[in-house]
């Protein structure tokens, strides 16, 4: 048999720049064929899965690409090749082998990725910090939730899209709930090796725990689902601090929020948007009654309202959040919907005609933002 030709084939010559590129990628600061160093415990799981997938992928790549290059180098047609090569139509044994081995590999990959998924996707019942992230075109707003699930304060109190940072303590589980009032966005922090879509009409949640060694770092986050012209600018930062620093920051934020309440206190007529056609100062008791509810900064300013039992009444609903849809959805004690007001985009006011309700206590919420809750007492 003739020996392999020494001439460098074209394919190999073309592959060289590629390899050079890879080497350059590893050598300098520009990104490499590997995800960034993980900074959360979930990301560590994902990264060790990536290690295995990458290893298997690399072995398959070099093996199969090697076979191709070998065949190309070895089996060129030579001038002496006048006779046909052996006409091999197949070989059942080898075909079974190259069906079974890949099957085993992908089953293995499926099982380990399922295991990793179960730990990456797990949400704890008692996270140390709960944050509602509201993504709207084209900014983020983070609402820190109290133990009762109601917002303590928002990082975008001014409502101008200038939201500051998502500040989180290291070493403890943090739970993020995702809300969108408009289109689909995605919460993506590359160093978390994680993203989750922010889908209007749907509450997604996930947990992450920042590694203690990554304290006092800031991680870049960005919207990853096309949401319109401002998509590229929809960035945010996650800042990891120690628990002590976090508590200090938290208390500071809460006292700030208390010092400048976002709207008029409970019970009084709504400010801001106002109620044209004459406000009704009373919040219950009188005949032909109407109830005031105001939404501002993704929260109800009025969380406890009263209405008469057994007779229809009206809700004067003021939505003071520009460009943000809200409504009032009253739930029966069993969780079913007793009344669902039309969703209106602020700033605006609207009147809901609520059918007669039997006496009792009814939770209400905003359909778009389930973190906005309150209680309606019917008596």
């Amino acid at each position: 048999m003739p020996t392999t030709r020494k001439k460098l084939p074209r394919l190999a010559a073309i592959a060289l720049p590629l390899i050079a590129l890879l080497v350059a990628g590893c050598a300098s600061q520009i990104p490499a064929l590997y995800p960034p160093q993980d900074v959360t415990s979930q990301a560590a799981t994902t990264r060790s899965l990536y290690d295995i997938v990458f290893l298997i992928g690399a072995i398959v790549f070099f093996f199969v690409e090697g076979l191709i290059v070998f065949a190309v180098l070895r089996y060129r047609r030579k001038p002496t090749d006048t006779e046909l090569p052996p006409q091999i139509h197949g070989n059942n044994r080898i075909e079974v082998i190259w069906t079974v081995i890949p099957t085993a590999i992908v089953l293995f990959l499926f099982i380990i990725s399922w295991q990793a998924l179960n730990s990456v996707d797990a949400v704890t019942a008692d996270p140390a910090v709960r944050v509602a992230a509201v993504a709207k075109r084209f900014s983020w707003n983070f609402l820190y939730l109290g133990s009762n699930g109601r917002p303590l304060f928002t990082t975008d109190a001014a409502g101008d899209g200038n939201f500051g940072e998502l500040v989180v303590p290291v070493g403890v589980p943090i739970q993020v709930e995702l809300y969108s009032p408009d289109v689909i966005h995605a919460f993506y922090v590359p160093k978390f090796l994680f993203k989750r879509d922010v889908v209007p009409g749907r509450t997604n949640e996930f947990d992450f725990t920042v590694d203690a060694q990554d304290v006092n770092q800031t991680f870049r986050g960005q919207c990853a689902e096309l949401c319109g012209v401002g998509h590229a600018g929809m960035t945010f930062d996650v800042k990891a601090v120690s628990m002590a620093d976090y508590q200090t920051w938290l208390q500071q934020q809460i006292s700030q929020a208390l010092a400048s309440p976002p709207a008029a206190p409970s019970g009084s007529p709504a400010g801001g948007g106002g109620t044209p056609g004459g406000p009704s100062p009373s919040a219950g008791g009188a005949a032909g009654t109407s109830v005031q509810i105001t939404a501002q900064n993704i929260a109800f300013t009025t969380t406890n309202v009263t209405a008469p039992a057994g007779q229809p009444f009206q809700i004067q609903f003021a939505n003071n959040d520009p460009g943000t849809p809200h409504n009032v959805e009253i739930k029966n004690p069993d969780g079913s919907v007793a009344f669902k007001g039309a969703i209106v985009t602020g700033p605006t006011t609207t009147t809901y005609d609520v059918p007669a309700l039997p006496a009792g206590t009814y939770p209400f919420q905003c359909t778009v933002h389930p973190t906005m809750t309150g209680t309606l007492t019917v008596k």
Partner: protein, 214 residues
């Protein structure tokens, strides 16, 4: 031109001359395959219906969710008109098939009669559906119920309309004597399409008027 035509003839169906089993003729096979794609078209619409239905806490949506219009959604209360339409369409499927059987016997008069009756029943269905729409009292924009109801029944109605047009063509050709026991692919294909439209309606009727609400 003549020589070209000669090639057409010899190539057109070389198998027919040599073999007895020709299977299903090309136009009918094509129609069946097209109907398979139509099944998937309605599969998309039905999937959307089941999806919004499964997501709704109450179906049809309650007064609490969409306001007083919800009271109009109770199609189960008055299914009789739609049931009559269903009967009309099912009968038309039978008359259509009688037409096919007639032309297979080379009964051209029978074909014209049966297709004529089918066409009248099809048009009656369309008029009935238009009348039903005018009486329902809710529109396409009235919540997911209105949207899915009108999209499903509307696209079915569009298919009935297409079917009546095909039936009209078949009727015209039948009256001109273009069909025979050997040569009536268009009748067979139209009939299959008409049966499909009928089956879709029966599924729709069951879905909208019979399937229990929640």
């Amino acid at each position: 031109m003549t020589s070209g035509t000669a090639i057409v003839v010899s190539h057109d169906d070389p198998h027919a001359l040599e073999h007895g089993n020709r299977g299903i003729s090309n136009p009918i096979l094509g129609m069946i395959l097209f109907i398979c794609s139509e099944v998937m078209f309605f599969a998309g619409l039905f999937a959307a219906y089941f999806n919004v239905r499964a997501n709704a806490p109450v179906w049809p949506p309650s007064v609490a969710e969409v306001g007083p219009i919800a009271e109009k959604f109770n199609l189960h209360a008055e299914p009789w008109f739609a049931a009559t339409l269903t009967v009309v369409l099912v009968i038309s499927s039978f008359t259509c098939q009688f037409g096919v059987w007639a032309i297979r016997r080379d009964d051209r008069k029978g074909l014209v009669r049966a297709i004529g009756v089918t066409l009248v029943l099809g048009i009656a269905f369309l008029i009935g559906q238009a009348y039903d729409y005018s009486q329902l009292g809710f529109g396409l924009g009235d919540g997911t119920f209105g949207t899915t109801f009108y999209t499903l029944t509307g696209f079915h109605g569009a298919h009935v309309l297409a079917g009546t047009i095909m039936l009209s063509v078949v009727l015209y050709r039948a009256m001109s004597g273009q069909f025979s026991a050997r040569h009536h692919d268009a009748v067979e294909a139209t009939s299959i399409y008409w049966h499909f439209v009928d089956v879709v309606w029966v599924a729709l009727f069951s879905l909208l008027y019979v399937l229990p609400t929640h």
